[in-house]
């Protein structure tokens, strides 16, 4: 799995790259569908924020990243986590409160992190991960590691003070960080029209001296190209970039959402802009993969998710022993 993760590059640059981009988008889609199903059947606990419809963003971004590059993620973090190369079984196990879960059942969906793939964690706090990514980029600069940090966050998070303070620090210190905004049009029920008095959220960059670009967030190719340029800038010591990807979440904000703040028509319209067929048509047009190969990838993703669910379901549940000792990392003598 980690070997596979090392693939970087333009999604249309080779059959392997196309296969990779497609596989990861399918994985995210199928993972989320499985989660929805498990919740629906009362087998999962807590809350869930699904990223169905938003698969192209994290996939495109992570194709521009090395394994050592770091990310911070959000409450809607499964996609980021998968795209950065996390193990599907351990993710699913976490959601099911199992010992082998990424957090040993202590964190759940909103707190999955994976040190191996540079994922510093999902975050239950809107905007909470942005300063943390900036700090990771600061560490990279101080340690001369050459790594880049990416902060994924939603449109809603841009109105938090955390975004502002972090963006300015990134700008003045020219840190290798990418501020990756997934503008899915809503922060819970509040639309970008009501929450902002600007049209292009990437314009926020102007106030910090950070270049801001807006791309079609449902086009993995466009996302990759913007990210690749931003990563190059970052590695070159030229500082941060704010990338706004315009996308849409198909599902409610979380399980309890009745979607009263948007129309069925709007949701349907966006379903026609599904990032997966969007990419498939490009792949087919370019003749990089054929339909049969594409179908095989979809099936492979589906099989991987089924396997993950099965493995996770059979794993041992987390037990309350040792919780107190788990609060602090032991001081080494």
């Amino acid at each position: 799995m980690t070997v596979e993760r090392l693939l970087m590059g333009h999604p249309l640059s080779s059959p392997d790259h196309a296969r990779h981009a497609l596989l990861y988008m399918y994985r995210i889609r199928k993972f989320e569908e499985a989660v929805e199903d498990l919740f629906g059947r009362g087998m999962m606990h807590g809350t869930m924020h699904l990223s169905i419809g938003q698969e192209a963003g994290p996939t495109g971004m992570c194709l521009a990243l090395k394994l050592e590059d770091q990310i911070t993620s959000t409450h809607r973090g499964h996609g980021h986590c998968i795209a950065k190369g996390a193990d599907l079984t351990r993710m699913m196990a976490e959601l099911l409160g199992k010992e082998i879960g990424y957090c040993g059942g202590r964190g759940g969906s909103m707190h999955i992190a994976d040190a191996e793939t540079g994922n510093l964690g999902a975050n239950g706090v809107v905007g909470g991960g942005i300063p943390i990514a900036v700090g990771a980029a600061l560490a990279s600069k101080l340690q001369k590691k050459g790594t880049v940090a990416v902060s994924f966050f939603g449109d809603g998070a841009m109105n938090e003070g955390a975004f502002h303070e972090a963006a300015n620090l990134a700008a003045i210190w020219k840190l290798p960080v990418i501020l990756f905004c997934e503008n899915n049009k809503y922060g819970m029920s509040s639309s970008t029209e009501t929450a902002f008095a600007i049209d292009r959220l990437a314009d926020r960059g102007l106030g910090y001296g950070i270049p801001g670009v807006t791309v079609d967030g449902n086009d993995v190719v466009a996302v990759y190209e913007a990210c690749e340029a931003a990563v190059a800038r970052a590695r070159n010591g030229e500082g941060p970039t704010l990338i706004e990807t315009v996308t849409y979440r198909w599902k409610g904000h979380s399980r309890s959402d009745k979607n009263l703040y948007r129309t069925k028509e709007e949701i349907e319209e966006w379903k026609h802009l599904d990032p997966i067929p969007n990419f498939i048509s490009k792949v087919l047009a370019a003749g990089i993969l054929n339909q049969e190969e594409i179908d095989a990838i979809a099936k492979m993703a589906q099989d991987q998710i089924i396997e993950a669910v099965n493995n996770a379901a059979q794993a041992k549940s987390a037990v309350p022993d040792g919780l107190l000792e788990a609060v602090f990392k032991a001081v080494s003598a």
């Binding site: 606990h45 964190g107 759940g108 809603g156 509040s190 902002f196 987390a318 107190l324």
Partner: protein, 334 residues
Amino acid sequence: MSTDNRMLTMAEALREAMGIAMDERPEVFILGEDIGIYGGAFGVTGDLYHRFSPERVIDTPISELGIVGAAVGAALSGMRPIVEIQFSDFTAQAMDQIANQAAKIHFMLGGALHVPLVLRTPQGSGTGAAAQHSQNLETWFANVPGLKVVVPSNPADAKGLLLSAIDDPNPVIFLEHKLLYKIPGRDPVPEGAIRIPLGVSKVVREGKDLTLVATGIMVNKSFEVAEKLAAEGISITLIDPRTISPLDMNPIFESVEKTGRLLVVQEGPSHGGFINEVIARVSESSSFGSLIAPIKRLAGMNIPIPYAPQLEKAAVPQIEDIEVAARELVKSWR
């Protein structure tokens, strides 16, 4: 509908209080995230957005510091804002406006201005939302002079206390346990604008063997224990302070003098937690001499709230834990 059978949930009772206050006074308005069309993350504002107007039930961007600050400014300018913070955990974002501004302005400005503001927010564990969505943070607020702090345990109290909080010329932090929103209380909720003053503890039931002081949802859990143990001949006085700042100690002193035993229960982490105030006040009072057993404290573990249900339960006092503690205190110190 007769008053006798108005078994509202706490969400309904809170909504009713806000509706009454908004009908009474044009200067009352609500602001918060997703409180409009969405009706609030926990459905507390519900249909108020439709009953009133988008100008009086104001949906905000995700900007806790900004909206609490805006509420402070509006409160200084003749309005009576009610801010809803979606989860109490995110009062952390607004802590400057809460603790450094709202709490201090009246005193610091020599009384020239005051801040009639209510900050309502759900707290507590039990929903599987993990460490950043499940905290009990009353300890933070209680230690800030200038804030009043309410922790209602049932719908009827919640309504009456919220009406008083809205009337109050000072900032009031109103901490609602999220597991209580959807369940009806034991008592019906009176109709109309019936207020319960802040700063009056409630003796929920009387007994002679043990004084049990609990806050928020722990009142409900403790009540069940008290009823159960009554059948075994252990008789418990249960006291719900309802407001923890100001804290009305009199019924607690009186009861301790009668029972000689004190058990205090809170959901939040024990270390340095608010409930210690009750212990401290008894320890330094003359009631101290009446104690025939060491004071016992039951509180959350000193850990962040974990996700998996079996872990989450272990983190905070359950009914069984309260039962064991009460039983032990009474039995081993006869």
